[in-house]
């Protein structure tokens, strides 16, 4: 029997950016808040002295251990899904900070067009432009409404950037100047400028200088140490929850953080149609607890957010046969149709590619959003073209070689030693759409360590995935040619989704909008059906934007925090449902 604990104002499930922001904001407002994090405690010294490629890049030390639970995956509605068994193929955040600790830091806002993608596409190109299989939806919020929340997150995180010449003029500049320009970035910027494009330095969650954020948290200048993506920062120089919102929340007496608290159910009262709290297992002792709360916030990343609602029987499960139901609908994300591009090998130049930082990079957004005419193109939307200097370890660099040469043996050894630092990659961060046939539900076969069904992802490319990827590869090729590479190896556009969940850009299923027919939450991420349940994170994206997701997750979290505070004041549904254009 679960032990019932003392009721609090707000219980927050998950302690990444999303949960950390909610916890910090509400605790600052004096609300009693309990944070429940499935993973273990983490602190800065966990990352000091452990710069180790094998451990983090090849053994995925920082990712969620999948022995307890994972996600199953299939392409077609009538396939049998298989569980994704290894952390190589399923990279989920865990511990305090979640994936928001090991993210790289590449920071973009989504475009005004992207928030209103359905209406603006129809305005510009007519309704026929939208393919039949695509559930293209507006977000129910405009860029103008989002801007203050973006700004708030960027200042909390201390993002280092410069104005993208094509993006809307910022209300306030980025809080910190951009990171340094390296020879590889300069080569990209020169080449793209020659081609008439508009290069700029990628805005980074790696700090260009020491910085105190508005909550009084001190962040330090990035050292370009290169052990960044898939690892935590030992210098508090990465914009992550451990350097910002988590300590801010912990400074408030009204906040309590419990780790190794694996939430298994949202407790729900049919009669009042309210969530009453959550049930969790203490993973250290195995004891079960019930944590009652006035407001329940799910901020446990897209997969768990969906799964907890499904396991708790809250919301109406989407059914692809009838196309009825909203929960699990519009599952999307940047999988192998995004981040395709080309690799250039330079015979006469070696770059210091073992130096770098997660978001050190240069980009152009000439092919993002609707910044280019789509009249004669067989796809909608776009993305940035980026060159990134992450800082690569020796195992990773040993993969660089002409792609038509062997991957082992004498020639491989000679080639890989020669090309290790002569290879530059550029890619297209293109948008990823939602389609009627892609959704999340519970798996009928595979279960977690407690016997609860795993989440099942059904995902295949829709009508535009390959076309937009091909476009990106061609544009990347032109740029690489201008950069002067001697060998240019274009990515082959994949035929189909390959069940690799390695980039952390998985979203949807509990999507936001104006219309309860096509969304689960309103634009405060409050559930339409359950007023005191907020579902925060990428799960709210109706489709993916043409850039990395985290700033939008951060911004939406600030908006949700505002909504929760308002709800605690007046106890009401915060939005009025409107019928939108149904896909």
């Amino acid at each position: 029997m679960a032990e019932e604990l003392e009721k609090v104002d707000v219980v927050v499930v998950g302690m990444g950016w999303a949960g950390g922001i909610i916890a910090a904001e509400l605790a600052k407002a004096g609300r009693s808040v309990v944070g429940l994090e499935k993973g273990s405690s983490k602190k800065r010294s966990d990352f000091i002295g452990v710069k180790d490629e094998l451990r983090f890049d090849n053994r995925y030390h920082i990712m969620q251990n999948l022995s307890g639970d994972t996600v199953t995956s299939r392409n077609e509605v009538d396939d049998t899904a298989l569980p994704i068994r290894t952390t190589k193929d399923m990279q989920l955040g865990t511990d305090i900070g979640g994936a928001s600790l090991h993210w790289a830091g590449a920071t973009y806002r989504y475009w005004p067009y992207e928030f209103e993608i359905r209406s603006q596409t129809i305005d510009r190109y007519g309704e026929d432009k939208i393919p039949d299989d695509m559930n293209l939806q507006d977000w129910g919020i405009s860029y103008e409404e989002m801007e203050p929340y973006y700004e708030k997150w960027e200042y909390t995180a201390g993002i280092s950037g410069e104005q993208d010449p094509l993006a809307p003029e910022r209300n306030r500049p980025w809080p910190n100047p951009p990171l340094m320009e390296t020879p590889s970035l300069k080569l990209f910027k020169d080449a793209t400028a020659n081609l008439g494009l508009h290069p700029f330095q990628v805005a980074a969650g790696n700090l260009s200088q020491n910085y105190e954020n508005p909550d009084g948290e001190q962040l330090n200048a990035c050292m370009y140490c290169s052990f960044c993506t898939r690892a935590g920062c030992d210098f508090a120089a990465k914009s992550d929850p451990l350097a910002t919102v988590v300590p801010t929340a912990l400074k408030q007496d009204s906040f309590e953080l419990r780790t190794r608290a694996n939430v298994r159910r949202v407790l729900y009262d049919e009669e009042t149609q309210k969530a009453t709290g959550v049930m969790y297992v203490d993973e250290t002792t195995g004891e079960e607890y019930e944590q009652p709360a006035d407001v329940v916030v799910l901020a446990a990343f897209a997969f768990t957010n969906n799964r907890l609602l499904m396991l708790s029987d809250i919301g109406e499960q989407y059914d692809p046969e009838t196309r009825e139901g909203t929960l699990g609908r519009n599952f999307n994300g940047q999988y192998n149709s995004a981040f395709n591009g080309t690799q250039g090998l330079f015979e006469n130049e070696r770059f210091n590619l073992y130096m770098g930082a997660g978001a050190l990079g240069a980009a152009v957004t000439d092919y993002a959003a609707d910044n280019f005419d789509h009249t004669d193109l067989d796809f909608i939307g776009g993305g940035a073209i980026e060159l990134r200097q992450y800082g690569f370890g020796a195992i990773s660099s040993s993969n660089n070689r002409p792609s038509d040469t062997p991957s082992w043996g004498k020639q491989y050894k000679a080639d890989s030693l020669h090309y290790a630092y002569r290879a530059l990659r550029i890619w297209y961060t293109n948008i990823a759409m939602s389609y009627w046939h892609n959704y999340l539900d519970l798996d009928p076969t595979y279960v977690d360590e407690y016997g609860d069904p795993l989440l099942r992802a059904t995902y295949k490319f829709g009508s535009q995935e390959r076309a937009i990827a091909q476009f990106g590869v061609e544009k990347c090729h032109e740029i690489m040619e201008e950069m002067g590479a001697d060998i240019i190896q274009d990515d082959e556009v994949p035929e189909e989704f390959n069940h690799v969940y390695s980039g952390g850009h998985y979203t949807g299923g509990v999507v936001m909008g104006e219309d309860p027919e096509t969304s689960v939450v309103n634009n405060y991420l409050q559930m339409w059906d359950v007023d005191n349940l907020f579902v925060v994170g990428g799960s709210a994206f109706p489709q993916f934007g043409g850039h990395h997701p985290t700033p939008t997750i951060g911004a939406l979290s600030y908006r949700a925090a505002e909504g929760i505070e308002e709800f605690l004041e007046n106890g009401e549904q915060l939005a009025t449902a409107k019928g939108t254009l149904r896909a």
């Binding site: 002295g49 710069k51 180790d52 490629e53 094998l54 090849n58 053994r59 995925y60 990712m63 251990n65 999948l66 022995s67 639970d69 995956s73 049998t80 298989l82 569980p83 994704i84 068994r85 290894t86 952390t87 190589k88 193929d89 340094m180 320009e181 390296t182 020879p183 200048a221 990035c222 050292m223 370009y224 140490c225 052990f227 210098f235 070696r350 210091n352 073992y354 130096m355 770098g356 370890g393 020796a394 195992i395 660099s397 040993s398 991957s407 082992w408 043996g409 004498k410 050894k413 000679a414 030693l417 290790a420 630092y421 076969t445 595979y446 279960v447 189909e496 390959n498 069940h499 690799v500």
Partner: protein, 268 residues
Amino acid sequence: MDNNERKGKEHKEKTFSRRDFLKTSGVAAGGIVGGSLLGGLVGMEHGSNNAQQPESATGSDGAEGGQTAQAETYDARTFFSRSEDFETLAAATERIYPEDDNGPGAIALGVPYFIDKQLYGFWGANGTDYKMGPFRPMASDTHGRQEKLNRGDMFLLGIRRLQEVSQEEHDEAFHNLDEETQDELLKMFESGDVEVPGMRAEAFFSLLRNTTIEGVYADPAYGGNKDMQGWKMIEYPGPRMGWTNDIQSEEFQSLEPESLRSYQGGGV
């Protein structure tokens, strides 16, 4: 100063065992014993992380002198039971990353022992993988690992299958075959032309290939990349505090590598 002078006796033992390895693996037939191979094995300079090593470290307790000396002295199989399995593994890794003019191959870099250690640990036992059934290892080309077998099992079964195929096709142990024949057999696994129980031959091959390369370039703390020779060949400097002062440099910087142990301050 080279290793030989520094560590005297132990080092000789080490060299002999490596030469035995190479003799039996057929690599010696390539005529490298007298030349670059010995150069690569014996004449390697110590990286700066061995600075703490007393110059006088000699004799049987010389092992205390530093991490490298210890690793070289005490490397032993703790996962692979049958020596023939280990010899086959070693010979296969050497084909994947062979000794050449650039420097040592997988055996001299300690890769077989690296793999042995990896398989003994949580990774070899798939400690962080989802391991519940039903298992359908052949059902899909694109769902990553689906085998019921863990990585340790996969290595053992794959290596034994390699031995069998070698006996069937050439009536000879794999590690005694010449390089070309070894390569041919490995290519059969790479392209999936061999049946291996419970897994695809390609899955075994890519595990073997990738783990070998990891052993070449992972930090020497894991037992491979002996004396950071892998890093020296690829001109990788190892973990450092940061590169703020160098990252804008137009010139490629080729530095003597430093190890994780050195980065951590030399241990407790």
